[in-house]
């Protein structure tokens, strides 16, 4: 058994990361005490991070008694398997079909919604941004339908309590609000996706989330920091690529 009071749990993370947020909330749901190790992204990566996740060098990384677990959804499955006692709520449902459904949609969140959202926030092309915003909205529309069909009653995808898919999508709400401010629209508009809008409110107000949810205005500021860092990096890359000006003879 991997549980017990002798457990040492650390989370290598970064306050603005939605993927780190998933793990924080999952640990909170299970009542697991952990030490939070904050990375100084985008400015640097600690040796611990590089050693713990040499393949991707990304947060979050969960360190459980020194052993690293990487990739947020994989960490969620790990947390659910390790801290699976009568007292702790389950993150994934028990029925295999329901688990498959949750996993399917969580993959969709990452591959469709997050990918489009990230692209829209990064791209400098107006045309591409428009397409990616549209793609994000399509993705959210699918989640609205999924919520309508699958929640079996209850405020969350997981039913009465927060589950795997709630964590997957809910962690993006802050950044969807950032994107909304950038584009001058509401990505969780109650007129377009009423159930999802209500769900987002419930998620953000829930106990395991409200203390760790990053403030939207702080995320907006952080985005500016990221953009400046990216611009500096591409300017440096461009300068390095430019051949030296030959001196006049």
């Amino acid at each position: 058994m991997e549980t017990g009071r002798g457990d040492e749990v650390k989370l290598i993370g970064m306050w603005a990361s939605p993927f780190v947020l998933r793990v924080k909330v999952a640990l909170n749901l299970k009542g697991v005490h952990y030490e939070s190790l904050e990375e100084d992204l985008p400015f640097g990566k600690s040796q611990l991070l590089l050693d713990s996740n040499p393949v991707h060098k990304k947060v979050p990384v969960l360190l459980h008694n020194g052993k690293p677990i990487c990739e947020s959804l994989i960490i969620l499955e790990y947390i659910d398997e390790v801290w699976a006692s009568a007292g702790a709520p389950a993150i994934l449902p028990s029925d295999p079909y329901d688990r498959a459904t949750a996993r399917f949609w969580a993959a969709y969140v990452d591959e469709k919604i997050f990918a489009s959202m990230k692209g829209a926030l990064i791209t400098e092309s107006d045309e591409k941004r428009k397409a990616l915003v549209e793609s994000t909205l399509v993705g959210l529309g699918s989640m609205e339908e999924a919520l309508d069909r699958r929640s079996k009653g209850g405020k969350f995808f997981g039913g009465e309590s927060i589950g795997f898919l709630d964590l997957a999508l809910g962690s993006l709400v802050g950044w969807l609000r950032v994107m909304g401010k950038a584009c001058g629209m509401n990505f969780l508009d109650p007129d377009r996706t009423p159930r999802l809008a209500g769900w987002a409110e419930s998620f953000c107000e829930a106990d395991p989330i409200k203390d760790v949810l990053p403030d939207t205005d702080k995320l907006v500021e952080f985005r500016k920091t990221l953009q400046a860092a990216m611009e500096a990096a591409s300017a440096a890359a461009a300068a390095a690529a430019t051949p030296a000006t030959p001196s006049t003879s």
Partner: protein
């Protein structure tokens, strides 16, 4: 066997479908196989996978499960014989990590080699090499050191996911003329692949190389006939994208 409880919608050349076929065979699950014509998708496929409209789709008592890795986990949880995921949570997380690596990094990089030419292809091949080095290291001195398979003495989910795309490497070498797995550079990977391909269940699940070779050649020819300046995934027509491409960029 018209009323089979388990059905698989698939496409004969799709490595994603081979994964599911292999898992079902390993577990001794009886199922009915339904071949999809990807250029003319059946109402059944569109009904059961409206989001992606792709194969494979597993139907269990008419309830659909889509996305090959999701299906593999479902199969493992539903039919307990010959488990394909390890028992210990940390070992499971490691297997899932490398499965995700194949899905997100290695697979798409191999797909890019197939779909590109010239300098772009050279860069894509180098990327494949970098990724394979990581896998090689895990086999040689890392988490999977000394094992016959990634799953141990018997194959597991990572063997299935990596194995059902790896035979494409030699097909691609012949079709695209790019050397991707130099035996000298990747001895452990080669040894593992030989073990994997020697299994009866694997030989039954995966079509003969000549058929795959012919298929890959015709797909690449179709791509070449298009006058797009660079071969990218978005420019490939639906009939030959994703499921039909040897290693698709998405599932």
């Amino acid at each position: 066997m018209g009323d089979a409880r388990v059905k698989l919608l698939g496409s004969w050349a799709s490595s994603y479908c081979h994964r599911v076929l292999l898992a079902l065979r390993l577990k001794g699950v009886e199922f009915e196989y339904l071949e999809e014509d990807l250029s003319n998708k059946s109402p059944l496929l569109l009904l059961h996978n409206p989001v992606h409209k792709k194969v494979p789709v597993l139907l269990h008592d008419e309830k659909p499960v889509a996305e090959s890795v999701v299906i593999l986990e479902y199969i493992d949880e539903t039919w307990k014989e010959n488990p394909i995921l390890p028992e210990a949570p940390h070992d499971r997380s490691v297997a899932r990590f490398w499965v995700h690596f194949v899905e997100e990094k290695l697979g798409p990089a191999i797909g890019k080699v197939f779909q590109s030419a010239g300098e772009e292809q050279k860069a894509a091949a180098e990327q494949v090499s970098e990724y394979l080095k990581l896998v090689e290291r895990e086999l040689k001195e890392g988490r999977f050191k000394g094992r016959r398979f990634f799953g141990g003495e018997t194959i597991g989910i990572l063997d299935i996911v990596l194995g059902c795309g790896s035979y494409w490497l030699s097909v691609l070498e012949q079709v695209a003329g790019v050397n991707l797995i130099d035996v000298a550079a990747f001895p452990c990977f080669h040894a593992w692949l030989k073990e994997f391909e020697s299994l009866a269940e694997v030989r039954e699940a995966i079509p003969a190389q000549e058929r795959l070779l012919e298929h890959a050649r015709s797909v690449r020819q179709m791509m070449a006939m298009m006058t797009a300046p660079a071969w990218t995934k978005t420019e490939v027509p639906t009939a030959v994208s994703d499921e039909a491409a040897p290693v698709a960029l998405t599932k």
